[in-house]
Point group: D2
Chain length 339, copies 4
Amino acid sequence: MQRVGIIGGTGYTGEELLRVLARHENVELSFASEIEPGQKLKDIFPYLPRFRELALCSTEEAVEQEVDLVFLCLPAGESAKISRLFVDRKVKVIDLGADFRFDDLAEYRHWYDMDHPQPQLLHESTYGLPEWNRDVIKTSQIVGNPGCYPTSVLLAVLPFLRAGIVADSQIIVDAKSGVSGAGKTPSPITHYVESNESLMPYKVGRVHRHVGEMEQELSKQADRPIHVLFTPHLVPMSRGILSSIYFRVKMEIAKSDLLNILNDVYNKEPFVHVLKNGLPATKLAVHSNLCFLGIATIPETDYIVVFSAIDNLGKGASWQAVQNMNVMLDFPETIGLLS
Amino acid sequence: MQRVGIIGGTGYTGEELLRVLARHENVELSFASEIEPGQKLKDIFPYLPRFRELALCSTEEAVEQEVDLVFLCLPAGESAKISRLFVDRKVKVIDLGADFRFDDLAEYRHWYDMDHPQPQLLHESTYGLPEWNRDVIKTSQIVGNPGCYPTSVLLAVLPFLRAGIVADSQIIVDAKSGVSGAGKTPSPITHYVESNESLMPYKVGRVHRHVGEMEQELSKQADRPIHVLFTPHLVPMSRGILSSIYFRVKMEIAKSDLLNILNDVYNKEPFVHVLKNGLPATKLAVHSNLCFLGIATIPETDYIVVFSAIDNLGKGASWQAVQNMNVMLDFPETIGLLS
Amino acid sequence: MQRVGIIGGTGYTGEELLRVLARHENVELSFASEIEPGQKLKDIFPYLPRFRELALCSTEEAVEQEVDLVFLCLPAGESAKISRLFVDRKVKVIDLGADFRFDDLAEYRHWYDMDHPQPQLLHESTYGLPEWNRDVIKTSQIVGNPGCYPTSVLLAVLPFLRAGIVADSQIIVDAKSGVSGAGKTPSPITHYVESNESLMPYKVGRVHRHVGEMEQELSKQADRPIHVLFTPHLVPMSRGILSSIYFRVKMEIAKSDLLNILNDVYNKEPFVHVLKNGLPATKLAVHSNLCFLGIATIPETDYIVVFSAIDNLGKGASWQAVQNMNVMLDFPETIGLLS
Amino acid sequence: MQRVGIIGGTGYTGEELLRVLARHENVELSFASEIEPGQKLKDIFPYLPRFRELALCSTEEAVEQEVDLVFLCLPAGESAKISRLFVDRKVKVIDLGADFRFDDLAEYRHWYDMDHPQPQLLHESTYGLPEWNRDVIKTSQIVGNPGCYPTSVLLAVLPFLRAGIVADSQIIVDAKSGVSGAGKTPSPITHYVESNESLMPYKVGRVHRHVGEMEQELSKQADRPIHVLFTPHLVPMSRGILSSIYFRVKMEIAKSDLLNILNDVYNKEPFVHVLKNGLPATKLAVHSNLCFLGIATIPETDYIVVFSAIDNLGKGASWQAVQNMNVMLDFPETIGLLS
């Protein structure tokens, strides 16, 4: 039994972490912190089967606790600062925010419009996509848990870049997300009456902060610059992301060969399912750590379309964070994550 | 062509008024005011077919305009104050808020927790339920447009009180409302992710402010005190109210006789439909000024259930306000209201 | 590790059983049968973490399998027939349908319009509401898993009948259900466009088949006939039931005393939560075996309102079935049911 | 007052036609036919303000009626056959199906997998997109009302093809539709529980029947073959289409110049709104004949994205059909269509 804590425990990613950890037999929750401490977890999340009597503590109290690993659910900039305190005490850190997703300080500055508060910590941190770098995650002090959109896109595109069949340096990603991706703070756009029965694009082009993260990982794999033409849409559902991804391939290639490229990578992966027939719907992936991939070729063109469905709070955030924890704490990787 | 104005034009009732008035051939919109004036209506509501170039004005500018009638979409207390300015200039007033719904100052104080700012104006005002008092509305200077829940309940229950068959002095109203009933201001409860895929009761008992208004009108019709045991629920849909209303009747009475009681009242009414077969779904009433009524008897008991479906922004607010306008300005009552 | 099977594995209750059992460490699934056998479970439910390679079998094949317990997800009448085959082989049976919910054959005939096919089996069967009769369930050969509406109502009302404070013999239940309660077969009413953005009552009065089941259990507890005035509504959400229950109490009684009555019964129950403050929303209960109860008194009346929220597929069906299984197979009662 | 009729009056496009025509002051409805005739319109659509007492007739009765214009809401193949009967009697025809959308018989055969039943009628028919060919529509005997997806795409892309700035011969259309686009017949995919809270692609590539129609009109305008890489998605909402359209332009071009290209075409159009700021959400367009267009450029690439939002039953079907009727019967084009 190892001890974990959560900083920022009452947003959607914090709440989902609590749900998943409450079913995880190998960990005990030592603390969950919040700006307004005091309430017991059962008063806020009365459905929790464990941790019910634990009271939310302040960040100051949190950093004093003895734990093996801490999850950070904080805005950009704040995670890095507080990470220092945990790392100095040899506590492992999983940041569900953006502070440890970038290799390059200039990129971080470009996308988050601030200087990284703890640049030296980047040397101890790893981008936490276990299917692609679990070996490094295993020994990392800090893991930057990937963003929701990037998770869906990287799992879908990396295999084709690795196979060397992508003709374009521009990849079109038309992504659709449920509203929980916009967070828990009420706003005019996420007001029920405004989001319901409507669909809209936002932050189109190469504007959304997740573009930097996607381009970094795709370019590394491709060993050349990849541009992501990224169009996120807000969809009237609570959870789920579907990314519809368009790119050209270098040669005519059968659907079965494309499926093989995916299967070669994900065949043994417990959380990535490649659909042989049919295309993924987000309902397959919600409330789970699963990613579903599907492919369509387009006759008389050299384009293919790859579809990727995840739960933005599942594989796209908190469930993947627990997967990273399992890797870092040397648990069986699927423990607590059977959906 | 008569001239009208709207004070408070950008909340949901204001927006719906604009939609309806834009299709109304007999009126011109002279102004719409808002706390933050300046924007043109087409910039906020780009779908409007008329009034597009009109800029939102301040309340100060609004009260200077020459109009025949003004709609007030304001919080309790504020309508009464500003009404004085219009009434003094012989402008007719339709208040979509609560300031002119009460006959009794003590009741107003009880439910709205303030003294009525213009008590003398109550003598010039009428409760605006046209099916029940259009003759008085026609000559009123001020009309208090009924609340959404009260509209659904009164249309359903008044006929039975008038017929003298209601045994109880306690009527149970289990009401369900779409989320637009909670207004346009974002809040944790009406955040998409919180309202979606969930149903919850709120302000149960005799707590909701609409109770006072319902009890006033029901008691007047019954000529004895009627208590409304009122349970509103928030339903994951944008619009629509269904009230399921339970009371006992004095004698065994066939469903056909109950339907006759409703038909006697509403036979010639263009906006109230009594369903001979089946029960009303809210989808029949949304985006319209319609109210659908249905009845069920309960074998081996003396209870009946009356169901009433309206659009909370339609017959429950802005469309009914335009119906009142039609009556007050001596237009054909259905003009502009064919849904 | 015990072996279980499912007859009728691809409807919503069957699917939900598969989801729950796949996370249950103490059981192995020996079979799942369907009218059209052949497909592997992973082809229909690709998200399942276990049982993926198991192929759907025919009922004929199913009854030959060696199992310890079988779940039946079948229409009324069919469960009873097939139960005989399992019972004769000492296999325990949990019927998610209606065949083993009635003590009285005439009641069964009245509500299901047929003669019970295996009346003698009623002597070996128990109504499976574990919070109220787990001792009998433990030793039963057959358990009739309660209906979704009855589960929500019984958990809310039985404590007050036991406490002897219910004044009425008529209880009003205004219940609201998500659409999965109507099953998986497409129909005009459950077509997305018809159910979405609408709310409607159906089978009002004492018409719905669940009335018989509720009245049986309530009357037994009250030791006098209790009539349930039952109004189910269809709500635009996939899952969840909220029952708003109205009855009069014999004396003036404080809310705290009412809460005590509930707490006396459910204090130690892992799956029933009594809300001290606030009222239950269905979102608290979905995807779980939980029931949330809340209470409102109504000033100046002798009515109280009890609210009960469950997941119709959770505590209202498949999760409760697994709870019954845990009791019958002598597992810890919460195993596999931490939501 | 002119007389119109509807063949196939009870599907979603027929129902929406009835709603719109009931508000149209210049027409009287002579008949609405259905496979199962007999019911009065008020029994099926109790909210209709007009035509309430009209009984559904058989097709045989319908073709005998004296009308000026008939709307056909029929499957492919059937419209063409019945059109012959009306055309021979000089009745104008608006087909909401696919039989009169193709110039080329081979294309029709390819996409609809049958020989056109009345090829000679194609000489008298016009593709009914009024913004682009209202002069021809005005004198046509038959109008093929465009499909929902094609309407959204053509209004967005034709201006850029006309301006000659499109570099590609392949245009990527990532389209998202509400569920009413799938029609009124219940099916597993459109069952509420399946569609709700999920998003999925279907008929990806160049498979969907609307591809042929889009490519025909785009290629004509471009005067070279244009391929549409078309990916429709089903979105959990009742109405609305958003098409997100990607193509490369020949030169670097400012957003303001792109907007000018749209405004040059649509400046005076009452039903097409070009958004100067922001991007269209489908909620702007539902329950109307409006199309909203918006543009995004993508820095460091030569791609632009055009967004087009309509109501699939509005501008995408029945409202556009009434717009065509207005043109054909020489009414003011906006009459009855102010939303």
